[in-house]
Symmetry: C2
Subunit: 455 residues, 2 copies
Amino acid sequence: MMDIVERLAAELGEGRVLTGGAIPERHHADTAGLPPTAPRAVVLPRSTEEVSAALRLCHAAGQPVVTQGGLTGLAGGAHPREGEVVISLERMRGVEEVDTDCATLTALAGTPLQVVQEAAEAAGLLCGIDLGARGSCTIGGNIATNAGGNQVLRYGMARRNVLGLEVVLADGTVVRSLNKMLKNNAGYDWTQLFIGSEGTLGIVTRVVLGLHPRPEGVATALCALGSAAEALALLAALERRFGGGLLVFEGMWREFIAVATERLGQARPFEATHEVLVLVEAAVGDAARLEDALGDFVEAGLIRDAVVARSGRDRARLWAYRETPYEYRTVFDRYVGFDVSVPRARIGEAVTALRAAATARWPDAAQVIFGHIADSNLHVMVMPPGADAAMKDMIERVVYGIVAGFGGSVSAEHGIGRTKRPYLALSRSPEELALMGMMKRALDPSGLLNPGRVL
Amino acid sequence: MMDIVERLAAELGEGRVLTGGAIPERHHADTAGLPPTAPRAVVLPRSTEEVSAALRLCHAAGQPVVTQGGLTGLAGGAHPREGEVVISLERMRGVEEVDTDCATLTALAGTPLQVVQEAAEAAGLLCGIDLGARGSCTIGGNIATNAGGNQVLRYGMARRNVLGLEVVLADGTVVRSLNKMLKNNAGYDWTQLFIGSEGTLGIVTRVVLGLHPRPEGVATALCALGSAAEALALLAALERRFGGGLLVFEGMWREFIAVATERLGQARPFEATHEVLVLVEAAVGDAARLEDALGDFVEAGLIRDAVVARSGRDRARLWAYRETPYEYRTVFDRYVGFDVSVPRARIGEAVTALRAAATARWPDAAQVIFGHIADSNLHVMVMPPGADAAMKDMIERVVYGIVAGFGGSVSAEHGIGRTKRPYLALSRSPEELALMGMMKRALDPSGLLNPGRVL
């Protein structure tokens, strides 16, 4: 009897299966910060048939697998555990078709998001999925984690952009619906099962995305507000004025702006200090329309102050505030970061509670709050000087406890993976968890797909 | 031992369980045209707890149930079969909350769609789900069937409008996620399972919808085009020009317009006869912007002719063409109707093939084609003089065969129910059907929920 690694190599060919020192180190970890772990082997299939063959063999052998895409996940979903076989989709890349009449794009799952975006743009269309890791994350990973980003307000999470999927089930069965139609109610839409299941129910191998018209005349502004409630009133006013044209509505609370200006050298955006600034982008045809609207809002007392970008340089300057977290590593030794959501109506209360808890417990720790207000999604970062693992656990328990108290979610867009698994029950009832378990057992009865992730 | 009907009455109270002549006839049929059938009993729960109690008892007794909402379904999903117990949600109605900060609405599943729409409007917002049966269909039924309609282009199918659900499983377990957050990746989004499952996996009892800003400055026009390809080019041009503002893009082929003008007394919309007319609505701020755009398109040779509504009366006159199918019963003895989809890029070929097949096989039959072009959704109607059941079967086989040949779906928006079950395999592979069967067995292992529907 050959062992499973020998069988995989025999079936797929030597070059497709790496072991020991031949495994590039990048396969030892994703971006969650867990200790790097060498998997038992890395399988590099080049086709759906090869993914199917690999899963069929692993299923027969009871061999646990973990699926890897671009390894940009922040929750440890693709981080290998001892003894697991990695199925990496990095060699299954390529946009196979852009159909401009149907406004769809078909790609292999390992295609980097940016390659997908560029193919859509080359055809005069837009991919609705966008996030910071676009250069390295894969479209399959985006779908497996139901990725979010800055334009969810306009284009929804990854789920909303998916029209068709090809998936390989735990036993190697290939299920395919390369649907290009916006309306298709022929039986259950089984593709929904796999979107956001983080590789625990099957492996996404091919995707059909619905594309969008490219927004024209996008204008950018930074608005100053006295509270989260004022930010929600601005959101409603902008939506009334520009309807489907609103693209971005990113909130940054005062501590966030203080870090940007006092520690990272950004110019103060306004003379006064405001509770929250909101970065707004909208397809308005002409920047003057946004300027007019914001002028009206200032006059009506809806907003405290505002600045509209008049050039690409202005726009970059306004976005630079929102992008400062990418530089935090240069000024903070460490931070504990969160991706949570609370119902929009309770964001103000949640910010107050988070601030008070951090100030009372860790008076020396910097703390920032920012995020996608329209999507109910807050990113919270606490920077305790000299934090250790026990401190991290305590901060997590406090923050997740507050979020749960507001009926929020412990994961807005990053998924559960391994790192948030202990907190899932704060956002889900026993009945919901039992139903998720039922789905897992139906699709992966032996528990071989990404075990220990999500559930 | 009491029989199941006695047990239901004992548990829920006499007034909640109707039998024999006490059952109103409306519960004998939905709108699919199947022969009316008296169910064994009708249960009228007033709360989720009562739905749960009813399912728990039926589950223990092995009693099949069928769920009824507004009974407007066209595929027989809610049409009772002999011996089934009806669970009617008609007494579970009411909008429980409109949360303007979150832009959400919470309602009991038996609430008529129009009541939901009016509650959203009263709060200055819009419910994205709309269809002709709005006065009688229920929001729970809309979600259970993933209903479509005329504005799917802008707001998506019912699925896209759902943020949270409460569902009762086959054994009476209540699972609840009354989520109001746009981003929530805390584990599997199990609510997706139930949307569009036509009551075969669980009973939807309560819903949270995401609401939209109300579009302002909506303009309406009728455009004349020489082919489906020209219609797609117009769609792309309008999307480029008005982005998220495009609301309606309804195609009507020449035979459809001929029935409207020659048999139903509508004025000819244009002097010339055109292959396809498209009814367009877009939130453009000012009707002049749509007029300008269409003027440019005529000049560029993109469209043959166009008329823009300048008053509410004009708008009603343009919509009257699209609404003529509601009057077909006054001029045709009978018709065989279809709700199919084909990829947008192949709509022109599909129309040609459908036309040729009907003309060759049933030269005396009128035939019309119309539908939601942007959504890839065509409604086809064939009116054979003196058709009987065998003729209906033959027409269905021919039309569904053509649709399948173009990679289309036998059900775009009406669902599968009972009437389309024989044709499901034309649009789904054996692997897809097996996966759907796996989902059904996991959630309803005894097969008691809407048996014989969908699968």
